[in-house]
């Protein structure tokens, strides 16, 4: 059961790295990518991914605002924050806003896959299920 993922990060490099990593695991398909919070909200509406990997510091709209807006649209959205060190307070804020978990850069393959597996478990059992 492949899960559809929306990757949100303002750097092409991080998006590429995450894309490669998730695709090579065989469990995830990249449904869309967004370079800021505004795009993330729009993309979420159009592709309805199973999971969002969300950067925090971005132009236009930051990751926390985007998390709030996505959850307003879809309270069952699964969003995982992806942040560099020094953003701990913002991570907590994002979790309060409804993000399911977080990954700190430098991320390891193991850590990312573990977190994603973990946050997707309850969803697999819910009526919403996977989209694929």
């Amino acid at each position: 059961m492949t899960k559809n993922v929306l990757i949100v990060d303002d750097t092409r490099f991080i998006r590429t790295m995450l894309r490669d990593l998730l695709q090579s695991s065989g469990r995830y398909r990249i449904a869309a990518e967004a370079t800021n919070g505004r795009e993330a909200v729009d993309q979420y509406k159009s592709v309805a991914p199973d999971l969002v990997l969300m950067d925090i510091v971005m132009p236009e709209m930051d990751g926390i605002q985007a998390t709030v807006e996505i959850l307003r649209e879809d309270p069952s959205a699964t969003i995982v924050m992806c942040s560099a060190m020094g953003q701990e307070a913002l991570v907590v804020e994002a979790i309060h806003a409804g993000a399911k978990d977080f990954i700190l850069k430098p991320f390891t393959e193991e850590r990312i896959l573990t977190v994603l597996r973990k946050v997707l478990i309850p969803q697999a059992a819910s009526p919403k299920g996977s989209s694929n």
């Binding site: 750097t11 990593l21 510091v57 560099a84 850069k105």
Partner: protein, 538 residues
């Protein structure tokens, strides 16, 4: 994950962010309009760069960019003159980032800043108690200064800080356990997930804290060798000393406490083990005596072995001395096996040497060595071959602070076992147990294993189980397998250990105490010293 394949993408994009940040700095310095928006963009560029460097595992660059981010925050929080100064320093920082990216492009796997930029960035951050390895950060220093001081990527931290960090970590472990006990059993859902996340995070924290306290054994090797050579010279003996396993890392405080016993054993070897040159030649040995210090890691334990090729310990003489000292009767002495005889040397005042000397003393010392090793939760074994040499073998846990343990219930209380000493646990039918000699029990399920009852060994009763089955811990100690019958098994715990202190530290059966999550105290049993040395007759 192979990060090298992303290098080109990384370099291209990081240059874009660097350029962007450079333009923003120019605007800020020239006092252009839209200061807040520019600051925000500048911060974003720094942050993106930092995230990218972190993802590529360029620690030096990540550290530099993190310091720049922190400085920027500090500058933004102050008045405009502070901000302007900060911006000047950040401009220097950006130049350095550019230089380091150049090094990355030229193949440097993880370049770190060697100019004073990072130091200068950090000098703004006051009230840090950490000394930088090169020099203490100055609290002054203008933004345009570029002090020609090199700085390394590591920092020097006071040992006391690390001790406090360890203590706090230990407390967090206890608080978590107590919290867990006071909550209803977690069954999925958010509370259960939070508990599990907390446990995992604390485990990682604990592992990190343990890790940063480790220092290589090699850090004391020079001092040990110097002490040995220096003493040999004073004794007009010639020795060579080889130390193997210097790369093995040990908790700093364990290493510190190991130093004295090691010095003493080395002195003992040089003074009493290694013979004078003429005596060696007469015995057909090389004139240069040989000392070998071998450090090995066995699971979560450390083994330190010191060997000499000297005259060895004369067991008959040792027995006589112990009898003379009133430690045992001649009859009892005759019943002792080789290992037990050699262990007599650790009794206070027992030595094969008549003449006291200034360095090793006479007999005083080996008992102290043995006590110190026990206080580290370890054991001391002695082996000797008359005419050929002696080996002192010490084995103890790599770290004493927090132990993965099994809690068991005995008649006289709750006891702790280091999990790594337990090979397996089995429920053994009481009806199948047969009484052997010397308090030993036998079970047909493991016919070669000597079983003992914990209560009986501690002298508080017999096997508490009359019928049904009883739990038996199969212990792994120095190659031999032995079993211990316990009242019941309470479960696995992470326990914070404390040394016993005087006078309890002399008790061989226990090597520490732990505070339990209900506030009670349990003694740590040492499997190697708890059970009788020699297997009971079959």
């Amino acid at each position: 994950m192979d990060r090298r394949k992303y290098l080109e993408l990384f370099l291209n994009e990081s240059r874009e962010h660097l350029e962007g940040a450079g333009k923003q700095i120019e605007i800020l310095i020239s006092g252009g309009t839209g200061k807040n928006a520019t600051l925000k963009e500048f911060y974003r560029n720094l942050h993106s760069l930092k995230g990218m460097c972190a993802a590529m595992e360029f620690r030096g660059l990540t550290e530099l960019l993190h310091a720049m981010e922190e400085l920027l925050e500090w500058g933004r929080a102050g008045n405009s003159s502070r901000l302007l100064k900060t911006v000047g320093t950040l401009e220097t920082g950006l130049e350095e980032v550019g230089a380091l990216l150049g090094l990355v492009e030229n193949g440097d796997p993880d370049p770190s800043s060697r100019t004073g930029v990072l130091k200068n960035l950090r000098s703004r951050k006051k009230s840090r108690k950490i000394d930088h390895e090169s020099r203490r950060p100055r609290n002054s220093g203008g933004p345009s200064e570029k002090p020609e001081v090199s700085f390394p990527s590591s920092i020097r931290v006071q040992m006391e800080s690390l001790d406090r960090l360890l203590e706090s970590t230990a407390e967090v472990v206890i608080h978590r356990l107590r919290l867990q006990r006071s909550l209803p059993p977690a069954s999925g859902g958010p509370p259960g997930n939070h508990q599990e996340n907390l446990r995992q995070s604390i485990d990682r924290l604990r592992a990190e804290v343990m890790e940063i306290r480790l220092v290589p054994f090699g850090s004391i090797a020079g001092r040990l060798r110097d002490a040995a050579l220096d003493l040999a010279k004073r004794r007009e003996k010639r020795i060579e000393m080889e130390i193997l396993g210097t790369e093995i890392s040990i908790d700093r405080s364990t290493l510190e406490r190991l130093l004295d016993p090691l010095f003493h054993l080395i002195r003992n070897c040089v003074d009493h083990g290694i013979e004078p040159r003429q005596e060696r030649l007469r015995a057909g040995k090389k004139s240069v005596g040989r000392l070998l210090l071998l450090v090995t890691r066995i699971g979560s334990e450390l083994r330190v072995e010191l060997r000499d090729d000297g005259r060895g310990i004369d067991p008959a003489l040792l027995k006589d001395r112990a009898v003379e000292g009133g430690w045992l009767t001649p009859q009892a002495a005759d019943r002792l096996g080789k290992e037990e005889i050699l262990r007599l040397v650790t009794l206070p005042g027992v030595s094969t040497h008549r003449e006291p000397d200034e360095v090793s003393g006479r007999g005083v010392g080996m008992d102290v060595v043995a006590t110190r090793i026990r206080a580290l939760g370890g054991t001391l074994d002695i082996d000797s071959w008359p005419g050929r040499g002696t080996a002192f073998r010490m084995q103890f846990p790599l770290t004493l602070a927090i132990l993965d343990s099994l809690l068991v219930q005995g008649k006289s209380g709750t006891y702790v076992f280091p999990l790594h000493q337990i090979e397996s646990i089995q429920e053994v039918p009481v009806g199948e147990l047969e009484r052997g000699r010397n308090r030993c029990l036998r079970w047909k399920g493991a016919p070669n294993v000597d079983l003992y009852s914990l209560d009986e060994i501690l002298g508080v009763g017999e096997n508490p189980h009359r019928k049904g089955t009883c739990p038996v811990l199969f212990l792994r100690t120095d190659g031999s397998r032995r079993g211990l019958l316990v009242g019941s098994i309470l479960g696995r715990r992470d326990l914070v250990l404390r040394p016993l202190g005087s006078p309890l530290e002399t008790m061989r059966e226990f090597s520490g105490a732990a505070i339990l999550d209900d506030g009670g105290i349990a003694l740590l049993l040492n499997a190697r010293t708890l059970l009788p040395e020699t297997p009971g007759p079959h």
